[in-house]
Symmetry: C2
Subunit: 356 residues, 2 copies
């Protein structure tokens, strides 16, 4: 399954809200369609959102009217920023927009659409390569007979390739290691129960589904050899925003001496963000907590608090697995050094982020 | 709402699996009916299960055939033991059976049914009184403007009166304190989302529903002044079995310096159980994790691990609120002393438990 593909001038995505029951491909031809798909989580996962930002900027170039019009650059930027605001926490979305806008700088507007597609395609391929590199680095941390735990979905559906946290597990399996994976169901939108189980089982990996509330007890009673999660935004000190529940999971891992690892491309690091307190946390509609899909189980009108992400403090993280290998504590230095590497250069996204 | 009532020779219960949408009363006239209602969680909550064990033993006396038959006592005991085995973790169920069987000792079988009803009614009233006493002791720990968090359902539906953990909150509200309660939804069976929200909102208490995975982040971002939970079995060292998720919640509370309190009658203490490792943990059907009610969201055939309870180590518990007041660390001594009090005497349940 490919989470998103550029086909004949449109972005084709799998509607992830319909999985695992229906594999439905949507063809998105406008920024507004793409924005809706992101806001409703039809397309999700931080690295995939980065590519959506990039391809969406190409869509913006196409639908902003005539490049001969003097207001064309402003219109492109306006549409792209609107897209970047679709979800606030994953830095990758704004990063993808910024990468493409930066590549247009100095070019005559008539060439923008074509150039945006070239840049987006390059980022798309870089994301695949980053996935392969992260998976290889992370799989070295696995051992046969182990039991690993993951939260939410950080697999192929969340990226363009093998995924981040799941990429590590898929690569370990490909190397012939036999291990079990405990999958947190990940309320409220159940990405673990619906998507991660699907991706791991299709690969032939042994899986047991648990509720999010069982993870600590699993560490106590079953034993867990490592936790791997993805990330939506990493601050310069290593604090990591990821799907709600990651923080409690990290506290439980700490209490049991279980290594807790974040797997994410360097594009997830926000060069403008000093620490976790500066990461904006998306709060979603209370209705998501009152039931699921067509089913409502809480009394009508019940109030809810629904943060979509939380922040894992750097001191609870053992390593951050990136396409440049493992970053380990103390993180501020390791992160600064990684960002300075020219090989796979990450950029700050100040231009777009300041306005988002 | 009364979770269970003895009416004209039958046990009437509210079917808690139908709440909050339907308030359906079931009239149970046989041990088999009651056993089914307990196994499927139509009737649940440790103190309520204690009363179900007691009233169920009265049903056993009535349906065991003629008291003139020499095999009658053995049949009563067989039926009662079958009932006590319906769920393994809550000690109260076996305790209720044992209390009634003990009260029949030495009586001629022809008087057993009547005597069993008298004993069950006495336990029923004692449970109400214990609820009032626990609520009063616990409410002294609340303050106006506070924010408290609870897990699963430990209210009137789980007992015969005001409840345990929710009894504390209800009493605080009755005293005029204004505070907010965060309610863990409590996957997989959603007792928090369905029952606790209902009971607290009906009382006029401000409630916000959260997923179990949000509790740690709520402590970090919103601030929480105390956690109150019920208990299904307390070991002599203070280790406490309660609904799955309690352990992770206690770890998060410890990390944030939030007082974590267990509210339970002394009948929840298992005089035969030295520590948490000796508490049997019920594992339920994997199907409960693949969806909810008529809805299935995980891929068909997905394996799951589904422990219904976990164990909170005594060192994570600040106090145990009982009908005799607060028991505080070091728990082994405090518990031994409480059990020695003649006022509301708890019994060991060795007779029934050994066979269960």
């Amino acid at each position: 399954m490919e989470s998103l593909t550029w086909v004949d001038g449109a972005l084709e995505i799998i509607d992830q809200t319909q999985l695992p029951d229906h594999s439905l491909t949507l063809r998105l031809t406008s920024v507004a369609d793409l924005r809706e798909a992101i806001a409703t989580l039809r397309l999700r996962g931080a690295p995939a959102l980065g590519l959506a930002g990039a391809w969406g900027t190409a869509l913006a170039c196409r639908e902003a009217g005539s490049p001969l019009d003097s207001r064309y650059p402003e219109r492109v930027r306006g549409l792209a920023l609107e897209l970047a605001r679709a979800r606030p926490t994953a830095v990758n979305l704004a990063w993808g927009v910024e990468q493409v806008l930066a590549s247009l700088s100095g070019l005559e507007p008539g060439r923008w659409t074509a150039e945006a597609c070239v840049t987006a395609a390059r980022l798309h391929e870089a994301d695949r390569a980053a996935g392969r590199a992260m998976s290889a680095a992370g799989a070295d941390l696995l051992h046969a007979g182990g039991r690993y735990l993951t939260h939410c979905n950080a697999g192929p559906l969340a990226t363009s390739g093998v995924g981040t946290a799941l990429g590590v597990l898929l690569e370990g399996h490909r190397r012939g290691l036999d291990f079990e994976v405990l999958v947190d169901e990940t309320r409220p939108l159940l990405q673990g129960a619906r998507l991660t189980t699907l991706e791991l089982q299709q690969a032939g990996i042994r899986v047991r589904l648990i509720t999010d509330s069982m993870a600590a007890f699993a560490m106590q009673r079953l034993g867990v050899d490592g936790v791997f999660i993805g990330a939506d935004r990493i601050a310069l000190n290593g604090d990591t925003a990821n799907k709600i529940g990651s923080y409690g999971l990290a506290l439980a891992a700490k209490a049991h001496g279980v290594p807790f690892r974040v797997v994410a491309p360097l594009s997830t690091i926000d060069g403008q963000c000093p620490d976790g307190r500066a990461i904006p946390i998306e709060e979603r509609d209370a209705a998501e907590l009152l039931g699921y899909g067509p089913l409502r189980w809480a009394p009508a009108g019940t109030a809810a608090w629904n943060p979509a992400f939380d922040v894992v403090p750097a001191e609870l993280i053992q390593d951050i697995v990136t396409e440049q290998g493992l970053l380990s504590a103390p993180f501020p230095g390791a992160i600064r050094k990684a960002l300075a590497e020219p090989a796979i250069r990450t950029r700050t996204v100040q231009g777009v982020q300041d306005e988002v």
